[in-house]
């Protein structure tokens, strides 16, 4: 009994230490990355499940790139370069409004890559970006790669792509098309991450919906809610800027069919 009380006391101290450490971290002006599930969090059954879900999308992406690069020789450098550009875009340090700019967050970029390259190739690019981040930035993980590809790659790319296309069908301006793609892809990415984390409490009798809602709520209330809108605005500005300076790029990528004024 005495040992258990002692262990409890140690646990409480550990918790207080972690809380203080994290507060110091949050207010130290570092970048806040929250959408990638880190190594070791997903248990084996979920890690395998998310890999199994992601593999078909990746396979279709690989097939599309392989087929296209044989037809158009400049396709591989184009995809690689735009992939690098989206990776760099996803490193933009956006100040977090909720913390009065004391910490920064970063955009996902999958909405933009889905607009530029199409959803399946975007899933592949997201997968490669996540692998590079997991290995060289300790951001995400190898066993959680499937889960991260599902939330960021699949949900982010497809939702962003369809949001862009629907906005185009509704004859919205290019800015609003980009805006909705950015916002919706971000929202779905965080929703995906929340679902993946929420599913972890089912095994031990927890409420999946409550946990998912709470995690999603925390994401939205801290940095990511505003970030969704900010990313949407930035993607909108990017589309308009590229269209004004180099409309041929959007024509080349099949984003615009004709060069009308913005």
């Amino acid at each position: 009994m005495g040992f258990f009380v002692f262990k409890e006391r140690i646990l409480k101290r550990v918790l207080v230490f972690i809380a203080v450490f994290l507060l110091v971290f949050i207010f130290s002006g570092k970048a806040a990355y929250a959408m990638h599930i880190t190594e070791g969090i997903l248990p084996s059954e979920w890690a395998i499940t998310w890999f199994a879900v992601s593999v078909p999308f990746l396979a279709i992406g690989i097939y599309k790139v392989k087929r296209k690069k044989r037809e158009v020789h400049s396709y591989l450098p184009l995809v690689g370069m735009l992939g690098a550009a989206v990776f760099v875009f996803s490193c933009f340090p956006i100040p977090v409004v909720a913390l009065n700019g004391m910490a920064t967050s970063h955009p996902c970029g999958t909405g933009m890559s889905a607009i530029l390259l199409g959803p399946f190739v975007s899933v592949l690019i997201a997968g490669i970006a996540l692998l590079i981040q997991a290995l060289f930035l300790a951001h995400g993980g190898l066993t959680t790669l499937g889960g991260n590809i599902f939330s960021m790659g699949i949900l982010g790319s497809f939702s962003g792509f369809f949001a862009f296309r629907i906005a185009q069908r509704c004859r919205m301006s290019l800015f609003w098309c980009g805006f909705f793609a950015g916002v919706i892809s971000d929202l779905f990415t965080y929703l995906g991450t929340s679902i993946e984390l929420g599913l972890l409490v089912i095994k031990n009798g927890g409420s999946f919906f409550k946990a998912t809602a709470e995690i999603f709520g925390v994401f939205m209330m801290t940095s990511q809610g505003v970030l969704c809108i900010v990313e949407g605005v930035i993607v909108g500005f990017i589309m308009v800027f590229v269209y004004k300076r180099r409309p041929d790029i959007l024509l080349l990528l099949g984003i615009k069919k004709n060069a009308k004024p913005v």
């Binding site: 084996s44 450098p77 690689g80 760099v88 956006i94 290995l135 300790a138």
Partner: protein
Amino acid sequence: MGFLHHTFTDRYTQRNNWLTRIDVRVKLIYLLSMLIANLWAKNAYVSLSFLFISFVFLLTINIFPLVMIKNMVLPLLFAFMMLVVKGLHEGENEWISFSVAGYIVALKKEGILGGLQIGGKILGGVSLVILFSLTTTMSQLNAGLKWLRMPNTVLELMSFMYRYIFQLLNEVSAIWYAQRARLGHASWRKAIKSFGVLGGMLIIRAVERAERTSEAMYARGYKGGCILTCHLKPLERNEYICFSGMALFFPFLLYAGNIKIW
């Protein structure tokens, strides 16, 4: 924007030490086996031993452990979130409870213990990945992944992205500093618009660079085939001994991970 240059862990990979000299296939097999053992573990012994081993190995190649600790800050943030989520949703025995704006926060003992175990897994898993990335170059990684039958298209795209991330990052950094010097980030509105211009320039430069690169590739005889040349020497006796060692050690890791602590 300079933060990414300093965060990439591959800047230590060009050093000549006993870990960089190990064949990448051996390192990959060890990494994957240990990550699986970490994932399957039902206690924190195995994970924490991985963390300890990683720190010791880093010390042997004269890399200060602070490099690893810096990279672990973000995973720790996630670990804390999991601790709170599990504490709130798992278990019966209430440990700490308090009210925040009418919302009763009740942390349960079982959930907290489960959360701490996940924390150990995160630390163990991330430390292994960091150790690998600190001692393996991208070209070695490509060769290893090719040996693991990763499709060529993925490796080509990964090489392209990795090759140009730093160049694009340099260009974007220059534009970003120029914008800041001219008060382009003085207010929130200006900052968002500046980020839009920055992202637009990034896309335009990526496409222009892709055009130039594809011309250069075409001039060198590229016809849409494979562009990678990964040289893998035949496996030697030392590598076979290492593989056998892991084959013998792996069941022990799985067994040690299943010893119950709490």
